[in-house]
Symmetry: C2
Subunit: 499 residues, 2 copies
Amino acid sequence: GFVGRVLKYLGITPLVPLLAAFYYGESPVPFVATSAVMLGVGLLFEFLGREDELGRREAFLLVSLAWLVVPLAGTVPYLVAGTGTVAGPINALFESMSGFTTTGATVLGEISVERHGHAMLLWRQLTQWLGGMGILVLMVAILPEMSVGGAQVMDQEAPGLSLDKLTPRIQETARALWGIYAGFTLLAALVYFGLGVADVAPNMGLYNAVAHALTTLPTGGFSPEARSTEAFAPAIQWAMMPFMLIAGTNFALFWHVFRGDPRHLTDNAEFRAYLLVVAGFGAVVSALLFAGVGIAETPSNVDAIAGNVENALRQGLFQVVAIVTTTGYASMDVNTWDASAQTILLFAYFLGGSAGSAAGSIKIVRWVIAKRAAGRSLFVAAHPEAVRPVRLNDEVVDEDTIREVFVFVTVFVVLFAVSTMLLYLDSVRTGLSLSGLEAMSVAIATLGNVGPGFGPVGPMNSFLPFSDAAKLYMVFLMWIGRLEVLSVLVIFTSSFWTR
Amino acid sequence: GFVGRVLKYLGITPLVPLLAAFYYGESPVPFVATSAVMLGVGLLFEFLGREDELGRREAFLLVSLAWLVVPLAGTVPYLVAGTGTVAGPINALFESMSGFTTTGATVLGEISVERHGHAMLLWRQLTQWLGGMGILVLMVAILPEMSVGGAQVMDQEAPGLSLDKLTPRIQETARALWGIYAGFTLLAALVYFGLGVADVAPNMGLYNAVAHALTTLPTGGFSPEARSTEAFAPAIQWAMMPFMLIAGTNFALFWHVFRGDPRHLTDNAEFRAYLLVVAGFGAVVSALLFAGVGIAETPSNVDAIAGNVENALRQGLFQVVAIVTTTGYASMDVNTWDASAQTILLFAYFLGGSAGSAAGSIKIVRWVIAKRAAGRSLFVAAHPEAVRPVRLNDEVVDEDTIREVFVFVTVFVVLFAVSTMLLYLDSVRTGLSLSGLEAMSVAIATLGNVGPGFGPVGPMNSFLPFSDAAKLYMVFLMWIGRLEVLSVLVIFTSSFWTR
Ligand SMILES: [K+]
Ligand SMILES: [K+]
């Protein structure tokens, strides 16, 4: 039922690249095929699935299943087109999963519209935008009810969220958030295109403007340009930063802003912490670049960074914003950075954007709650008689939620460590040489839905060199990372399948 | 009062190196001076301090203070002897703190009895043994009461531990644990010496046997040999492994074994998990070494490791045991390892030995509780109506303890990340080149009281190249790491100082 309905609606979306294919005179076949497969499988699922009294465990199962079936259906255009590396089934699944989970890790060996066509690369961008839409619904309508990993805190700011997801208010909420999401996407496209028209960004035409707007708001990070946003003028890079920051903000807060209450945004604890860590990491990395110690070798295609305030600030801040928001765009190749700047950036991978956005990783609100709970522990250690609840935005966070937040952080970090070791062992097996930092970046870039890492998986490189086994494992990481880890892991427990 | 009494008793301990000094014809002055300073300052403190109705906050303060004042007093022999790098006050404090916290990180540039004298290096070994004794009391008698970081779980297996630390039973407990500790130390010395006498370990005389026994049981890791246990025959290295494993086991479990109840040990959840992770990490690292991919360059002074079962197993297992137990001995230079084997070893730094031992870092029991609590979360997610307590050794772990365990793990990991960044920035400032992995190893080696790391702080190198500021920060890390982090951090909160 549910999965079928999702697929049925998605069956309309290949119309977008189809139009592009006609416009650019490229083959429409891959997109017609995709549409057909999605509609067909969707109707089949809808026919097979009864349901409509959705239990708790069915919800877990359906959400996980949907995020598996949709990326599977999304491989059709890559497979049918048969162009380049993504013509292979595992690479196609990797690219499709990376798209729908808004990760942005790629196995497209050679990224160019000449090689793959405008329509195909537009489809790739579109998968991220659709994935972001899915995440917004998941965040506000489904995950909080499943109360896993402290996801309850995410609905705190959602307007009028009741616990029955079938009420019209949930649908209203979802529609409001989608409106904000679509509105900002349009605005981003207009601003990018406007800068191109104003002649400050020569190669930013309508196609690139739309393509990048589609991957900015979902914190996706795919780009039809092989060298990501390095391909564009500084003006574009500056313009992308606020849009990435918006994409990493709880969209529900904007809803309040648009209803005339900006204090909801400016007083929000997560939003303030989010800006603070971006500013802090940005200042440190920019300072390292400015001092010249953050760069191992100045890339030939980039203006001088050491000693150049604008360039050091832009490059430092852009990379930090791209990573903290889990977008994964890059305005330069971080492989040219010194290990010190890279290591600091690696820690930023664990922050994550805000709840109520399409950002991945741990998310700032969990860190805020963890910090306050730790502070409470210190207080209670000295004053054992004291009763002191943890508060967030003037509301008490209940103890179960606090515990679940800690469970999430710990499971996430352990999963990162175990995945680093597994992927490292596999890379040793296949003779792919990685430094310790690079191996760690592979694990967190996929689990945190960030996208690129360091070394062979740097922003100008790809995940192609990995073995099929490693790629399938990364598909798994992107999948569970996207669905807040625990809500997928739960279906792998034996107790899930027993009454 | 308390700090004074501790110092007064410690004032007797320099007698040990004093006797060694007479035996080897070395200067007795440093040890006479140390004894005098300890007794003098001890009496002063005892005179000044009233007390004897010890409040909760006073307990935090006194424990933290004691672990600061004792290492300060412990600098006297280094300063008075004035030999080598530890003649400087910051280096002396680093070395002394590293000793009393059983860390084993060193700034002794040139380690040899010729340079520093037998007596001085024996004192250095002794500081770790004394530190280990202190930790055992802290673990069973003081920390559980302060209920910080989930330390309550540590007393679960302690024989007859009541909550009033002034009862004779606590003193009985402490004496029993000290007896076990001293007994195993004696046994280790006899075994090491016996192997020397039996001519299978040529350079293991009485001095080295005693010196290494004194740093095995407290999981200390100091050695009077510049190349740590690489200096000794394989037989010694094999013999050290069980003693390190014993040192990382909850001593209270041995108490039950000696009273004829070995099942207390063999059924213990932490002990089983501890053996399991040692076996698992040991197998993986040994396999990497055996396959030849774990080694970047085979060191000239070591027999062939790739393809040699005994050597690969010994080198892999020894390093894993040394790190998981947080001892920090090394049977070879891990800087010759490939980054893959190093990275896997780095993750082992976070495990820690068992509660109720002198091991540092996070400790296995916390990971066991975290794993079970995470499993419970998954169960409850699917069965929200279920009430399911977390159990450990047939007892229910209460929810406050579970939460404190997670708080501890999270604070520890965040402190590791922040410290890595701070120490990295300082190393960049002073022009000390570190890889990302090496920078991380510096932070966790000191915070986790392990000792050596990778690169410049490898087991055959030293922490000398760091700036004074970095060394003082590492002194701070060793100090708070030793005292379970939160019980020190609490005295830095403003609420601690207000009624
Ligand atoms: K991303
Ligand atoms: K140690």
